[in-house]
């Protein structure tokens, strides 16, 4: 029982990471109807930026904040420069663009920072807590994710920019008629998503170790989490992420270790989707004819 709870808690920590990236995916999907396959690589690149700053002597949390700001701006620039040309093109063209972006980031990181696996410092010491049920590091990861979620919730619910972004995502035509600059809202959305991804990357790097392929698996799990929760639901992304994190851990501990773990976890998620084809919290797309 004790071991089971341990696995659940460490699964929640991993799940927080998946939840964060899943949330970024959902946010972009809601505003642009596009799955940003480059989300993981963008996060990885941001993590390298943080690593560079820490190595240059900046205190961890300062490097963290600077990286978030840089990632936010980077995300906005990417939306304006890379994605805007295909926003009105067929969806597949936009998908291919995000795949291209994935390759570019991955390759650039390998070129600039090499493929050597690096250590990444964690601000949280790795000590057991609560009778060895959970480590301080895992608790720290969950706490940071929680804080981020609360901030996002407050932003979207109570600020006028947040409201404008929700409006622009739901009904861009009406939003424009209210004087909202929909293009700018999209850019902010991508900026936020990039910042969220950066947070996730920085939190996961101490565990997975930093190398250009660090976020590949995370992106897959996050994609699955977002769909499990319902690709249009932010709450679903978080719940989905936590479920996937715990499931992955339990499958890895009690069923199959190593490589097949991913396949089995995905199979389980797909099994759920067979019964709920729009995810747990997703709304079926109502088609008016």
């Amino acid at each position: 029982m004790h071991e089971f709870l341990q696995q659940v808690f460490s699964g929640l920590a991993a799940g927080s990471i998946y939840a964060s990236v899943a949330l970024a995916l959902v946010m972009i999907y809601r505003s642009t109807d596009l799955v940003n396959f480059a989300q993981g690589e963008m996060a990885m690149f941001s993590t390298y930026i943080a690593w560079t700053l820490v190595n240059a002597g900046l205190p961890f949390w300062v490097a963290f904040v600077v990286t978030l700001v840089v990632s936010f701006i980077g995300g906005m620039v990417i939306e304006r420069v890379v994605i805007r040309p295909v926003e009105n093109a067929p969806v597949l063209a936009a998908v291919v663009v995000t795949i291209g972006l994935l390759l570019i980031f991955n390759s650039l990181a390998g070129w600039i920072y090499t493929y050597t696996v690096q250590d990444f410092p964690s601000p949280f010491p790795d000590r057991p807590l609560l009778g060895a049920l959970i480590t301080t590091r895992d608790l720290g990861v969950i706490a940071v994710t929680l804080v981020m979620l609360v901030l996002l919730f407050v932003f979207f619910r109570f600020t006028s920019t947040g409201l404008a972004m929700r409006a622009a995502a739901q009904n861009p035509v009406s939003a424009r008629l209210c004087g909202i600059r929909v293009g700018r809202m999209l850019a902010i959305g991508w900026g936020l998503a990039a910042a969220i991804g950066a947070t996730a990357g920085i939190m996961v790097a101490p565990v997975l170790f930093l190398d250009p392929n660090m976020m590949g698996g995370v992106l897959l799990y996050a994609f699955a989490s977002a769909l499990l929760g319902g690709i249009t639901s932010p709450v679903g992304a978080v719940v989905g992420g936590l479920i996937v994190g715990v499931t992955e851990n339990l499958v890895g501990t009690y069923l199959i270790a190593s490589q097949l773990k991913l396949t089995v976890a995905l199979a389980l998620i797909i099994l759920v989707l067979v019964f709920r084809p729009n995810g747990l919290f997703g709304t079926a797309i109502v088609r008016r004819v």
Binding site: A167, N171, S174, R176, L177, C178, I180
Partner: protein
């Protein structure tokens, strides 16, 4: 009286197709002008042209400023409030959030304006926390008008406000629009298929047919014209 909005030789296009063929329209300040016509005459397209939602040629002048090269969101900021066909309600957001969005460009006075809207439309006050999609057609129309008024517009553009509504509700809505026009000193440009009701309220009218203006003048003169009565008023 001066014209607050003037269209001069305006053409409008959907892609390569020219749908409106060089029309001249003027809306007098403080008055109500109506665009009449059958389906496909180009009425909605003309409104979209004013708000920068379709490609245009020609001049669109609003209170001395050219609108025809501007983006929709900029036009909204200048004082033109467009209530689109089908209301354009944010169905996933609450009534209050819908109104807040209307006040996006006039944020400082948004709170005060919202109270005024609740005074005009008490039913919206009752339903302020409900989702926009849960409102009835008539309530959504009121919400759409209120949202437009939150922009403190000088010109209110209404696209078929009677669409899909029961006649009683339509009368209520038009009564409110008339009241608003007088109290808020807003000019109104109205597109309507319900010609008789529109001609009763409007000062001026234009009749569109397949993208051309085929008749224009005071509302009364169009209402008295026997040809128009036969074709559009049914008697």
């Amino acid at each position: 009286m001066a014209a607050i909005l003037e269209l001069r030789a305006v053409k409008a296009f959907y892609g390569q197709s020219e749908v409106v063929h060089g029309i001249d329209v003027a809306v007098e300040e403080g008055g109500m002008t109506v665009l009449l016509g059958a389906n496909g005459a180009g009425k909605t397209t003309t409104l979209r042209a004013i708000c920068g939602m379709v490609r245009t040629e020609g001049e669109i002048v609003f209170a001395g400023k050219r609108l025809d090269r501007r983006a929709t969101e900029a036009i909204a900021g200048v004082g033109v409030a467009h209530v689109p066909e089908g209301r354009g309600t944010f169905i996933g957001l609450t009534v209050e959030e819908n109104l807040r969005l209307g006040g996006y460009t006039r944020a400082r006075r948004a709170q005060a304006n919202m109270q005024r809207m609740y005074a005009y439309f008490p039913i919206l006050a009752d339903r302020r926390r409900q989702q926009g999609g849960a409102l009835s057609g008539g309530e959504q129309q009121m919400l759409a008008i209120a949202r437009a008024l939150m922009m403190e517009p000088r010109l209110l553009v209404l696209d078929e406000p009677s669409f899909g509504l029961a006649p009683r509700i339509v009368e209520d809505i038009f009564a409110i629009v008339e009241r608003i026009r007088k109290e808020e000193k807003v000019s109104v440009l109205l597109v309507e298929q319900n010609a008789s009701l529109a001609l009763e309220l409007a000062d001026h009218a234009y009749l569109l047919e397949t993208g051309y203006v085929v008749a224009s003048g005071s509302a009364k003169s169009l209402a008295d014209d026997p040809q128009i009565r036969r074709s559009y008023l049914g008697y």
